[in-house]
């Protein structure tokens, strides 16, 4: 086997789940229960680690069931699935934290897992001491920590507090320091479970950069996440787990679409706006009910593919007393997670207000292509009736933009580098001298 490869054969893991105790109802029952309880407790506690053949199905659960996989050196594999699908259990077995009930795994190379950052941090020790302690817990040698110490502290950005006991740190500082230690591991196989969602936006960007670096250095990475945009951006191959079994093993696009398809058939596809955010301004003239975005391939939901044709639907309602609406104006602004507005579509700004509108209805906004690069965004909705602001939903929910390749070039914009991505309405040309002749646009002539 080559360094960095993983071979899994018939892997299964059974857990015991709690079974309710029946409570005694009589005084006599309670008295005999008092005597019998220690015996029952002993049986129950013993059963945590012992499984008999006669164990019924309802007291145990197969967190993983007969998984077989081959992962090659240098592959970046995403593991997705609903809660309880077995993702974390798989990572825990691979990192030797827990032992499988059946099956075997062959791992070649040093394995490091980032199941949770900051494990083993001791509040009484200083940041410096914790870096060492955490480093050796994660499997580094002391010499290795010595060598990387400055890089770790610089990455965390808290050099000033490095000799302060960790108990005086803010939780954010603690997480940053902990992640910095983890990020400087150099294993052949790296297992990551949902740890990239820590810290502020700037620190998250740093983490993603580090992740990208690890990817390019030819490391084998197994990455568990619920953030589909991140999975598709980072992974070449994605394994979809469902109730402990491999439901799909394929390219990230295929698996993510399958997963999202599965989730949209079970969950709600519209984002319903609650009383506090449907933005009734008190005038009671209008309220926003719900919204969704439509993608030809993904259907109705909160996910769209970058650069693809899509449509936003916004449902509104006016009180029953009114018969219809006059001069309805609506705007949608998409903001990044920091709240910076990125783009706006507005009936008002382009002079296309609806002169009349039904009492309740769904406004549809069609976009030839969505120029946002993959990532998570927030939607802001604004309305006015007869020129007076009505319902405003400042934070109407999240929009996930997934990678897409609308032009079929095979070249995808990257989150860190490209900002808003222009697809059409522009042309490139080249000449020897400056060419300042710009065709007059229709509006200015």
């Amino acid at each position: 086997m080559r360094k960095g490869s993983i071979r899994i054969r018939g892997l299964s893991k059974r857990y015991r789940i709690g079974v309710f105790d029946d409570r005694p109802e009589t005084l006599l029952g309670a008295a005999s229960d008092l005597v019998m309880r220690p015996l029952r407790n002993l049986k129950r506690l013993r059963s945590l680690t012992r499984f008999g053949d006669g164990d019924s199905g309802d007291s145990t659960i197969w967190a993983l069931k007969d998984i077989s996989l081959d992962i090659h050196p240098g592959e970046v594999v995403g593991v997705i699935g609903h809660n309880g699908a077995g993702k974390t259990t798989l990572l825990k077995i691979l990192s030797q934290i827990t032992h499988p009930t059946r099956g075997r795994v062959e791992l070649d190379g040093r394995v490091s897992s980032l199941l949770e950052v900051g494990t083993g941090f001791h509040p009484e020790l200083t940041g410096r001491e914790n870096v060492y302690l955490n480093g050796v817990i994660l499997g580094m040698r002391k010499r290795e920590v010595d060598r990387k110490f400055d890089a770790i502290v610089d990455f965390s950005g808290i050099r000033k507090f490095i000799d302060t006991p960790v108990k005086r740190y803010s939780s954010g500082m603690r997480v940053r320091l902990a992640f910095s230690v983890s990020a400087h591991l150099e294993p052949e196989i790296l297992l990551i479970d949902e740890v990239l969602s820590v810290g502020d936006a700037q620190f998250q960007r740093k983490c993603l950069g580090k992740m990208d670096e690890a990817r390019h250095s030819g490391r084998t990475i197994l990455f568990v996440s619920h953030q589909m945009a991140m999975v598709t951006a980072l992974c070449d191959r994605v394994i979809l787990l469902d109730r402990g079994q491999v439901q799909m093993d394929g390219t990230s696009e295929e698996a993510v679409f399958r997963y999202l398809g599965a989730s949209s058939s079970t969950g709600t596809t519209w984002v319903t706006l609650g009383a506090e955010d449907h933005g009734d301004d008190g005038s009671g003239r209008l309220s926003l009910r719900r919204w969704a975005v439509e993608d030809a391939q993904l259907g109705l939901g909160t996910e769209v593919r970058c650069g693809h044709r899509c449509a936003f639907h916004v449902e509104y309602e006016a009180p029953e007393s009114s018969e219809g609406l006059e001069q309805l104006s609506i705007a949608m602004t998409i903001k990044d997670l920091l709240g910076t507005p990125l783009l706006t579509a507005s009936t008002h700004l382009v002079g296309a207000d609806f002169q009349t509108a039904p009492r309740r209805g769904i406004v549809k906004l069609e976009l030839e292509q969505l120029p946002l690069i993959p990532g998570t965004y927030r939607v802001h909705l604004w309305t006015s009736v007869q020129g007076v602001a009505a319902a405003i939903a400042r934070d109407a929910g999240q929009l996930e933009v997934l990678p897409g390749d609308p032009l079929g070039t095979g070249r995808l914009p990257r989150a860190a580098a490209h900002g808003v991505f222009l697809l059409s309405n522009y042309s490139w040309s080249i000449s020897e001298s400056l060419d300042t002749e710009l065709p007059q646009s229709a509006g200015s002539s």
Binding site: I97, H99, R104, E106, L115, T119, G120, V136, G139
Partner: protein, 268 residues
Amino acid sequence: MIDAGSRLKLLDTRELWRFRDLFYHLVWKDVKTRYAQSVLGIGWAVFQPVFTMLVFTVVFGNLAKIDSDGVPYSIFSYSALVPWTYFSAALTGATASLIASSAMVSKVYFPRLVIPLAPVLARLIDFAVALAILFGLMAWYGIAPTVWAAALPFLVLLMMTCAAGLGLWLTPLAAQYRDVKYAMSFVIQMLMYAAPVVYPTSAVPESYRLFYAVNPMVGVIEGFRSALLGTIPMPLDLIAVGSVSALVILLTGLVYFRRTELYFADVV
């Protein structure tokens, strides 16, 4: 290589060696954080045995008038309290260690053996401080150590083996059955009366003595007294019996620990 059906080696020395830095750091953390934010600090290592000695001297020495093999009762009991305090602290620390580091155990892999063994080693610091006080007391009473003092390292090793062996048994049990935690202080107190801390071994009937010595701390404590105070000739028979039983406890404890450690993350 992880195999559901595989039998583990009793001791994976290569892996332990690979994680030696971790072991060192855990011991160091234990030492460093034990008395963090306390006024007396390491003074607690002196306080505890010395005060126990004072109480014992009043109660057992002056009131109950228990025989002390010809030396002042205070130094008689203190010489036993030095190894005994170590033993009880190391055992309590080891037993609680797995539960205390449950977050680590369920998140990261490393040889689990280092967890209970770290306090066994770390408590040696307190032991050394208490031992220094014992030497001070000996000087005060004008008692010179015998040539057997050269055997002290062996007695210390025996004492550590005993604490480690019992620790290996109790650590997994404590993780699965929290009763162990509640029983601990009580059991250690009981055990103290099963060792010659407040009374001399000469008070135990001759025919029961070898059976009595199955508790390895009997040999350790009498060995300490014999080597440092010269109360009785070196009780080699007691020490031999104790050594065998300490080794048996250590080996069986190791087997038990290695068998249960696979499921620590599931039960802790």
